[in-house]
Amino acid sequence: MPVMYFDTQIPSKYQKLIYLNPIAYLIKVYHDIFYNNLMPRPELLILLFFISIVVYIIGFNYFHSKKDVFAEYIMSVVIEVKNVTKIFKRHTKKYFSIKSAFVDFIKHGRPQMQIVKALDNISFDMVSGSTLGIIGKNGAGKSTLLKIISGIIKPTSGSVKVKGSLVPLLELGTGFHPELTGRENIIISGLILGLSKKEIYKKIDEIIEFAELKDVIDEPVRTYSSGMYSRLAFSTAFSIDPDIIILDEILSVGDIAFASKSKEKVKEFKRKTKRYCL
């Protein structure tokens, strides 16, 4: 914190330097007005006024000239997909023994590969705070694209850049074990999704509450109905707090009441100005 010293302690050549600073001079004027009852010198006030107007105009124009560039710095791109192409090679015939494969190889030569172009030169940017929906028919390649973004499979060509932590919720109940109880499964699934054990214990009551599974949470998961199963999986998945979230057709879970409740949860997530991708 500041110390106090007298102006006589400052070498005289630096004293003038201080008054070159317009703010220092302004404060001196305030002192004059309130403390010393001194009339501020009008010519200095006018000079000060001109200096401040000049500073204002320069500052304003500087700000104005840079204003157009602001948008791209403020709204940073979080997902950048560039010319992504994914080609799957599919065997037209499947052999279940080496013998039949070998015989076929002798007869017809090398087996033919069927080439499926799942994604063809796809590019898009996603800025922070936005939501992107990907729609299309079954087999159009939606899930493939999401898998590429989340890094589960690699694109044949092109690049994907993701900034921030990303949690893919491509399928519900990843890592659920049927013999374990609901509670244990929440812990395991939370660990897989990247939470620490402490965080899970903190959130576990909230998760159970949201899933409406209080009575059966200590039963093995194999005894659950499929609705209960997906409710548990959804609640666990949404207890994490990532920067980016990828959802793949998992909102239509449970009964109507739970489906609308989970939609609310997604909306709440969106309000928190995070971004997610469906």
Binding site: I27, Y30, H31, V55, F63, F70
Partner: protein, 163 residues
């Protein structure tokens, strides 16, 4: 508002009670300088962050971005104006003569308004490109504090006029 008052208490205690400062009406001297300084420094500091934190407002609406910076200066100006009555109470308490010179105050405030907003535009712009400008500004403001007569006691005024 509270902050300068608490500051004042500390300084008064330090210099009047502990060091038995010979400075005449030291609290008035300090208070009359620290209030406009607070206006300046907190405007500049808040403006530094303003453009980035109002990101959605700037990129998604036609609102001119300059408004965001100016609002910070204006809101701190209002703080300053509200603290002026307290300053007058101080003046009366310490029997400092209030004369017509106080009428110059609006002129000085207008000058400071333009100066502050002009200065504030620069860090507000830089902070968009480099987010650590905030830390640098804190240091610069601290430096300015030392230079701005807030901790410099003017020998001529404070000592010789002691009655």
């Amino acid at each position: 508002m509270l902050n300068p008052l608490l500051n004042l208490l500390i300084y008064t205690f330090l210099f009047v009670v502990i060091f038995k400062s010979t400075a005449k009406n030291y609290p008035v001297y300090f208070f009359s300088g620290i209030l406009p300084w607070n206006w300046f420094s907190s405007s500049v500091m808040e403006a530094t962050d303003s453009v980035v934190s109002a990101g959605a407002l700037i990129t998604k609406s036609t609102l001119p971005a300059e408004i965001v910076v100016i609002t910070k200066v204006v809101s701190n100006l209002i703080n300053y104006l509200l603290s002026i009555p307290i300053l007058f109470l101080f003046l009366m308490f310490f029997h400092v003569k209030i004369s017509f010179i106080v009428l110059f105050l609006p002129v000085v405030i207008i000058i400071q308004f333009f100066l502050t907003s002009g200065v504030a535009f620069f860090p507000a712009t830089w902070n968009v490109f480099y987010r650590d400008v905030r830390q640098i500004m804190q240091t610069i403001i601290q430096l300015l504090f030392f230079v701005c007569q807030l901790c410099i006691l003017i020998h001529k005024y404070l000592l010789n006029t002691k009655s």
